[in-house]
């Protein structure tokens, strides 16, 4: 046993007895360190020369800075621009990656992804409806819900698509992948068409909001936005670990999961609501950021296996780190301008997705 843990710790071979939990714990530890480094990198780098290290050191020691004006500027940049952006990146990266992993477990298929099968499109439709119609037809809704109207609309948009997809693609406990992907395409096309109608109705100011938002970006991060969507994402993420055992059992099929003592219907609804909440909240603030949900769990399954007890936390950590790195690229590659982060993740993620498809051809029953 001691030898096996050492082999696992070295990360070189799978323990001979097929138990990958020791290796998974090491990977989770390493990913935590990686996330800490990514956060540090994101806080300290940017278009301005503000020193996050100095700001934090001053704050910790209570030292009075020599140049008060400069210190105030740096403080503003670090506190009000970089910190919310980093925090939002962490939340959304984790939400997207975990949502992908949960959805793949639910559909029993490694290609399921909220972005790919139309959940994000449904969320977008909900969000755009609020942006465009929020002052006219949907005024009562925005009045009643205030800043929560947008994330809630995104949530219900995503939820409707997920429920619809599940109902269409599942027959007698078997989810057909082909049906799921094709139905997802159709639903996404419909949602995008409806979104298009709304965009057609939008005025100039709304159009600017929409364009920026649709490409996907963390640039709009503010503390109030985090206050709105942060709790939703944190709650959804906190619920996910309770699904891990059930999702593991679900890998054997719905009937077998039930025979193993898992309340399958309850599991499915919790997962669907959780994913819709996390994706809806993410889409509401940052638009469509694709491929995190498919790339991250896939890489981790290769590294530590498909056990959701480890896969879900590891996905959260790696998703957060990757999104921060993508954001760093988005901020710096065309500096002083900024690339929408959705473009960065798509450019890196789409070829990766194709690679999975090619590698899996013949293994996955499409």
């Amino acid at each position: 046993m001691a030898e096996q843990s050492i082999a696992g710790a070295a990360g070189m071979t799978m323990a001979a007895d097929g138990d990958r939990s020791a290796r998974a714990r090491i990977v989770i530890l390493l990913l935590s360190v990686a996330l800490a480094l990514s956060i540090f990198l994101s806080l300290t780098s940017g278009a301005s020369d503000a020193s996050a290290v100095r700001v934090i050191r001053d704050w910790l020691t209570g030292a009075v800075p020599a140049d008060a004006a400069l210190a105030a500027r740096d403080q503003l940049i670090v506190y009000d621009i970089r910190m919310p952006r980093v925090l939002l990146g962490v939340l959304i990266g984790a939400a997207l990656a975990v949502s992908g992993a949960v959805m793949q477990g639910l559909f029993r298929n490694p290609l399921a992804d909220p972005g790919l099968i139309g959940v994000s499109a449904g969320s977008s439709l909900g969000a755009v409806a609020i942006i465009v119609l929020g002052t006219t037809w949907l005024a009562p809704v925005t009045l009643a819900l205030g800043t929560f109207a947008l994330p809630l609309a995104a949530f219900f948009g995503g939820l409707s698509v997920t429920l619809l997809l599940y109902a269409i693609a599942t027959r007698q406990g078997r989810t057909s992948v082909a049906t799921m992907l094709l139905a997802g395409l159709a639903i996404a096309a419909l949602a995008m068409a409806l979104t298009g109608i709304l965009i057609f109705m939008a005025d100039d100011r709304q159009l600017r909001d929409l364009t920026f938002w649709q490409l996907g970006s963390l640039a709009g991060a503010t503390w109030p936005k985090i206050g709105t969507v942060g709790p939703v994402i944190v709650l959804a993420l906190a619920a996910m670990p309770f699904l891990s055992r059930g999702l593991n059992a679900l890998a054997l099929g719905e009937a077998t999961a039930g025979h193993l003592g898992i309340p399958v219907q309850q599991l499915k609804y919790t997962a669907i609501v959780g994913v819709s909440a996390a994706v809806g909240a993410s889409v509401a603030v940052s638009g469509g950021i694709g491929f995190i949900g498919i790339v991250v769990p896939h890489l981790l399954r290769i590294a530590i296996g498909p056990d959701n007890r480890y896969l879900l936390p590891a996905s959260a950590l790696l998703g957060a780190s990757l999104l921060l790195l993508a954001d760093a690229v988005a901020r710096t590659i065309v500096a002083p301008a900024e690339l929408p982060i959705g473009i960065v993740t798509a450019v890196a993620g789409a070829p990766f997705f194709l690679w999975i498809l090619l590698r899996k051809r013949g293994v996955v029953d499409l």
Binding site: N248, A249, A251, L252, H259, L260, G261, P263, G305
Partner: protein, 262 residues
């Protein structure tokens, strides 16, 4: 005791099983036989609560439909005909899933070693680190049986018998492993548990079953001990095949029966 009364199951408006009475006693291996499409698997799925049915199913005197999944999982484990996976689980990870909801019945500290012991029982020693998807069909079936065994490792828990439901447990196995698996089933019954198995091989059924339920177009054609049930008339009626029970082939034709196993 498993007691089912007047079980009927309809799938897509078509009645697959109609008014079947069924019982399986602890300490016995109960076999369900019948031709293809006679409703064997459908009956088993009703008995395990996987398909909606009319009629009543009681496990140890308690109504199955009133049980929570985890309560049912403590009383019985179910082996499906085949299980495909879309994620790269190792054999050990699959077998361990048997411990997820129910209670194996061994001391808490021994649970961790149970997957290895179960794999050894089904003659898969040393397979724990292999990937499930890379195994042959027969090996996969035995991995699933090891998982099912983990779920109800102790045939009797707190004085109450537990049950194994096996849907064609030996259909893709070679003769050696057919005997190993059927011996596991018989051993489980001898130690106080109950076994319900769908079987196709009538010789194997005659050898291991204490009671046989014969299904024919969704209805019960006969029930009883192997000597009561397996006769020429029933086999001709149910299987539509004129066979003679106990007739030996011509001396020049070799035949091999499981009963001859040393």
């Amino acid at each position: 005791m498993i007691e089912a009364r007047s079980i009927s199951v309809a799938i897509g408006g078509k009645r697959i099983v109609s008014h079947v009475d069924f019982a399986a006693r602890p300490g016995e291996v109960t076999a369900i036989v019948g031709p293809n499409g006679s409703g064997k698997t459908t009956l088993l799925k009703a008995l395990t609560g996987e398909l909606p049915y009319s009629g009543t199913v009681a496990l140890n005197g308690r109504d199955l439909s009133a049980m929570k999944p985890v309560e049912a999982a403590t009383l019985r484990a179910v082996l499906p005909q085949s299980t495909t996976l879309s994620f790269p689980f190792t054999v050990r990870e699959i077998v361990r899933l048997g411990l997820i909801g129910g209670r194996s019945g061994v001391l808490p500290g021994e649970d961790a070693r149970l997957p290895e012991r179960a794999l050894a029982r089904v003659d898969l020693d040393g397979f724990a680190g292999r990937f499930y998807q890379e195994l042959s069909g027969g090996e996969q079936q035995r991995v699933q049986l090891a998982r099912v065994l983990c779920q109800v490792w102790a045939p009797v828990l707190e004085g109450r018998p537990r049950y194994l439901f096996l849907d064609e447990p030996v259909s893709s196995l070679d003769v050696k492993h057919q005997l190993i698996i059927m011996n596991i089933a018989r051993d489980f019954a001898r130690r106080g548990g109950g076994v319900v198995a769908i079987l196709h091989d009538l010789n194997l059924t005659a050898m291991y079953a204490d009671r046989i339920f014969v299904l024919h177009v969704g209805q019960l054609a006969a029930a009883g001990s192997p000597t009561d049930v397996l006769n020429d008339e029933l086999i001709e009626k149910v299987f539509d095949c004129r066979l003679k029970v106990g007739a030996l082939p011509a001396a020049s034709v070799p035949f091999v029966l499981p009963q001859s196993a040393a």
